[in-house]
Symmetry: C2
């Protein structure tokens, strides 16, 4: 883990770059707004910690009423439990003896749930649970439209749920029904239609299970792009929203019911960068490239300088195209960039530099960073 | 820094995933081949450590005859010097007092060179050098075609070189003349033509400097995609090749003089992944997504399984499309992926897991990992 590039109390302008900044005021408003929305809809909040990878943030979400968090990896679950989180859903399949053993051991320390979509994997989960004398709570992941992991809705889900329910050391706890592909459909109606289908698949599967005597106490899913539809569905009990705490440039391209970009949550996460070269009238280069901001969902956007565009990323450089009056940008000037995609960008850093009133107020370790063993 | 997911002596099949594997035999052959090519051409090798971020690998390159390494960041230079490397070129501009102070202090420990393309930055370099009582060797970066950093060839480069030469605490040491944009031009003739232009710009600039009494002992540049042209130019003294040690999927798309993909260096770097879901006849999902392999230059490629294609990356998942006889791929099976782009993929990991004869032989820390303060 690298040292943070800032000290508590330091003026923002002195923070060395590249750094991952968190605007603590905007972040706090995002926390509160989502908590309010969930409370209003009468659903539980289980934010996805894969976005922030930071137990400090997880604990703040829980202080705002979340029941716990979800994660994607055993290593993330370990980081959360070691950081004081008592309720963690691994919203993903966990495969292989080393990880299953760690999962079983972790279930001694906290309430841990995991997903499954394969009979052989259920047998392995059962073996690990019995070997370590724990009960693992298992959700069956259902493919509600993303065509990634998950068994098909209906009979295949029922069969796997029955297998889980009959396996020593396991308890069937419900359905994981997340539609990832729907999150970034740009149009409001597209997202609504995709989630209507997902809800229908989750509902019919739940009903089939209960008709067959398999209690299904939990249906969980949803993301920042669609959460209001799952919240209103009466089928989903929990929301697994992650990106809402930060908002990235990609999510900001989603359109609302009025056809305009959704501005429900604020950009609170920024890559702080320095202009390191100013070689031509219309060109500057900053020190934040591919190793400082993930470009899988598009380039980062320059914040609050409308005449400066981030047009190309190489490993350690960001190329800026300049127009109009902001041609005064000079070597040494610092910029705020809105990451294209927050999750993999956070994963490049070891620290959040929390900023309030233009000063460093907090340094939070990104202790679940990494590819996720 | 996370713990390695492997132990020395462990069979490859037991290494947990995602892991960054280094095939030590292929890596060794790449090391030797590039050393031989440089020796044959009579140019020095100064490999780019931004690709591997690992002092162990840097020292092996030096054992094979390299004069030192280059890097892009002060933090990388520090990691190299602390790891035993005695000669480091920061092939990049360094901006801001904190980094310049660290650079000056580092120059007490090892031979360190740095680039400049701005008069104000030269003044700052001079101030830091005199404040710390060191002499900093400075190369003027010339824009030889990449249109990123660098002053224009000819008179602007001469003016900056003269400024460096006349600045207290600085020594003008030559020209940084790297054409990054040429490295991935696919056609052999395209790359040759781009480097012919770069060589001409470097040559005329060097000649102008010397005509004006400014000695120019060093012209340095080149990358894995074009090195043979710079090596044959009689203008370049050093080659800054980086990716040759690993080879990634993107470089493997470059074509040679015969119109066929260049196969001069071998793929030695792999992301090791596990199939974690097998939900449909033609679909599998592995545990290596955006946080395990950078997709900025295209998806990773599945190694040695021609009927399996990596078709989509989400944060923690890689979607595999299956065809033909390899439909037997099962949950728990492990795969080798060739990263699309090696540098930012390496940057996601803390350890190389070195493999020989299907066993773990080495664990090398990626100690310069990070966005690079």
């Amino acid at each position: 883990m690298t040292h943070p590039s800032a000290e508590i109390g330091m003026p923002l302008a002195e923070v060395d770059t590249p750094a991952l900044l968190l605007d603590l005021d905007a972040f706090g408003r995002n926390l509160k707004r989502m908590a309010d929305q969930a409370a209003k809809a009468g659903v539980r909040l289980r934010p996805h910690a894969k976005s922030h990878k930071c137990p400090v943030i997880a604990r703040k979400q829980i202080e705002h009423g979340a029941v716990g968090v979800c994660v994607q990896k055993v290593s993330e679950a370990e980081a959360m439990v070691m950081g004081g989180v008592r309720d963690v859903l691994i919203a993903n399949e966990i495969v292989g003896a080393p990880k299953l053993q760690r999962l079983a051991v972790l279930a001694r320390e906290a309430h841990v749930m995991v997903c499954a979509d394969d009979a052989g994997n259920v047998a392995d989960l059962s073996e690990a649970a019995t070997a370590f004398g724990v009960t693992l709570e298992v959700l069956v992941e259902v493919n509600v439209g993303a065509d990634r992991c998950g068994v098909e809705p209906g009979e295949p889900a029922l069969a796997l749920a029955q297998l889980v329910a009959g396996s020593p050391g396991l308890r069937f706890s419900g359905l994981q029904a997340y539609h990832g592909a729907a999150q970034h459909l740009r149009g409001f109606d597209e997202r609504r239609a995709a989630i209507a289908q997902a809800v229908e698949k989750a509902r019919t599967t739940r009903d089939l299970l209960e008709k067959n005597g398999v209690a299904c106490p939990l249906v969980t899913g949803a993301g920042t792009g669609t959460y209001q539809f799952e919240a209103a569905s009466t089928v989903y009990h929990e929301l697994q929203v992650g990106s809402y705490v930060f908002m990235d440039a990609d999510y900001a391209r989603n359109l609302g019911a009025d056809g305009r970009p959704v501005r429900e949550f604020e950009h609170s996460l920024f890559v702080y960068a320095t202009v390191m070269s100013r070689p031509a009238r219309d060109r500057a280069v900053c020190d934040a490239g591919l190793k400082a901001s993930s470009v899988d969902s598009g380039m980062p956007q320059v914040y609050d300088l409308p005449d400066v565009a981030y047009v190309g990323a190489s490993d350690e450089h960001g190329k800026l195209k300049l127009a109009g009056k902001h041609n005064t940008l000079a070597v040494g000037d610092k910029l705020l960039l809105i990451p294209g995609h927050c999750d993999p960008t956070v994963n490049l850093y070891d620290w959040y530099v929390g900023i309030r009133d233009n000063r460093v107020e907090a340094l939070w370790p990104i202790s679940a960073r990494g590819p996720g063993i």
